[in-house]
Symmetry: C2
Subunit: 333 residues, 2 copies
């Protein structure tokens, strides 16, 4: 049903619509894209494409615009992610190069991604599974409250508050911290097992609650923090976007929504278009995301949120490039 020319027509329509944000007509199409057939032929093709659900008309006798299904076909079969220019690569490299610590890497990444895609960037904090636990501390804050601190070799710090019996002596706290020394230099996965062991030897004192807290911290890792940047770019998503803007901004404030948005961490670029997003406020946006990390060890996900009418090839290229650079940069240390 869809021969090569029809696909070429679809591709041309999407290209044109992304560029000019105006419905595309048959005449303009043959003029601008050297299709070597007459407008009438294109019209027939467009009618077919509309029947099949790839195109739609805003109103009779205007041009056609792509549907979500049209974009999907385009992304899947009609385009390839093209590599970035050397200049862009260098820009990414130098921008990330100056980063001091993990927070800095993440905040630079999110700014970079927002900058080069001109969309809203989302970066999940990495879970470096090769990272090892460097330090665990139990610190009294008040008579009946203590703080459990966990530091990994990547400089990542997590914390939990625990209740302690009012009479607990400082020595007991220290003892529990010393007890936790067993997991030093273990990875998260190893530590969880070691802690399970520790928990079974029913030790008295506060050690059990510390073990529980640390286990929780390690388990909570995957739902780690997410950073958003470039929110001002929603203002540029287009004039037709103003109505849908509020729910989008709302979604961007919800960590939970963002995490689901980024989805499963996979090491290639995934695109979710319009209604493919389950979150209702984002159904006029598309999400382009990619996992980052080592080839066989994905750490986390980053991506961008933009209007459905976005330049997919270029956005996908940018997201992929940034994901690779960040992964490489973090792997190096």
């Amino acid at each position: 049903m869809l021969d090569d020319r029809k696909l070429a027509v679809l591709r041309a329509i999407i290209t044109d619509y992304v560029e000019n944000s105006e419905p595309v007509g048959s005449k303009a199409l043959v003029e601008r894209y050297r299709l070597d057939v007459s407008p009438a032929t294109i019209r027939n093709d467009m009618a077919t494409l509309e029947e099949e659900g790839y195109l739609t008309q805003p109103h009779t006798s205007a041009g056609r615009i792509p549907t979500d299904k049209g974009y999907r076909l385009f992304v899947d079969r009609l385009t390839s992610v093209k590599p970035l220019s050397p200049a862009e690569k260098r820009a990414i490299s130098t921008f990330l190069g100056g980063a001091a610590d993990l927070d800095d890497v993440v905040s630079r990444t999110v700014r970079l991604l927002a900058q080069i895609t001109q969309q809203v960037a989302i970066v999940q904090y990495p879970i470096v599974s090769t990272a090892v636990i460097r330090h665990i501390d139990v610190i009294r804050l008040h008579a009946d409250r203590a703080l459990v601190l966990l530091v990994t070799s990547t400089g990542r710090i997590t914390q939990a508050h625990i209740e302690i019996p009012a009479g607990t002596a400082d020595e007991d706290l220290e003892a529990s911290a010393v007890g936790m020394a067993a997991v030093r230099n273990l990875t998260s996965a190893e530590a969880v097992r070691a802690l399970a062991h520790l928990a079974r030897e029913a030790v008295p004192g506060i050690l059990p609650s510390v073990v529980a807290a640390v286990t929780a911290l390690l388990a909570a890792d995957p739902t780690t923090r997410v950073v958003v940047g470039g929110v001002q770019n929603v203002a540029r998503f287009g004039d037709d976007f103003h109505a849908a803007m509020e729910p989008v901004l709302e979604a961007l404030e919800e960590q939970v929504v963002l995490l689901r948005l980024l989805g499963e961490a996979r090491n290639d670029v995934t695109v979710r278009i319009g209604h493919e997003n389950e979150y209702i406020g984002l159904q006029s946006t598309s999400v382009v995301a990619s996992g980052y990390g080592m080839p066989d060890d994905v750490w986390a996900t980053l991506g961008v949120v933009g209007p459905t009418r976005m330049n997919y090839p270029s956005t996908m290229a940018s997201v992929r490039a940034v994901a690779r650079y960040v992964g490489r940069f973090l792997a190096e240390g």
Copy 2:
């Protein structure tokens, strides 16, 4: 030049304009606000107010709208901050009541403030000057990098990375941490003095760089973190606002801008209207801010950013109330 009636006219115009977002004419004014004079009289008053710069006309033969100067006069002399209803107070109280730790308090506060004012809320992390240092740790991350951790009794954690000589033994790190025990249970101000002392006794090893790092952490406190919430509300600021939206969103991403926006921490509500904001992107917005903390010990500032055409009395009341409740809540525990 400005008698009571003229002031009453200004007040009525602002009230009406805030409510209906439409220029106000003389006839509608006398009808809606029982001014007991004829429209012609009001017209004369309005002409005077316009001459003096409190009002302006969007175009000839439309009603008047207030200028920034008009709002300023209104805020300064024509209104008083009225207390919240018991229901609202209870809502604030219960909403903050469930907070677990400092992060939780701040994030609840920002959501609360955004919710009840329907504007963008900004909350600065508190600097509790009565907080004492509970813990300092020096943790090796790599051969030549270490992490300096500082924990206060409020559960606040700050960190700094330092370079260490490659040959440094773990014992030296521990020793430096032990050396820092001198500042335990000191307040920030006391600790800075103690550290200055320590620094003068030219100790060998890595202690000096640790001292420097901790001093920097303590000094950096005032430019502490800022949290923003309710960004989706900019979409509700009004139709005339769409043009100015992008710079506003941009400003909200810049920590530095936000901190300057909140300004000096004072314990009463301060309002900055339109052009009174030095930041250029926010000149069609107003900022209502208040310090929070103990009466003689202001910890930090919180506030909201909204359209110049906002309900000042109600916003000011909300900001003040939230500031008080948060201050009280933090003081208690």
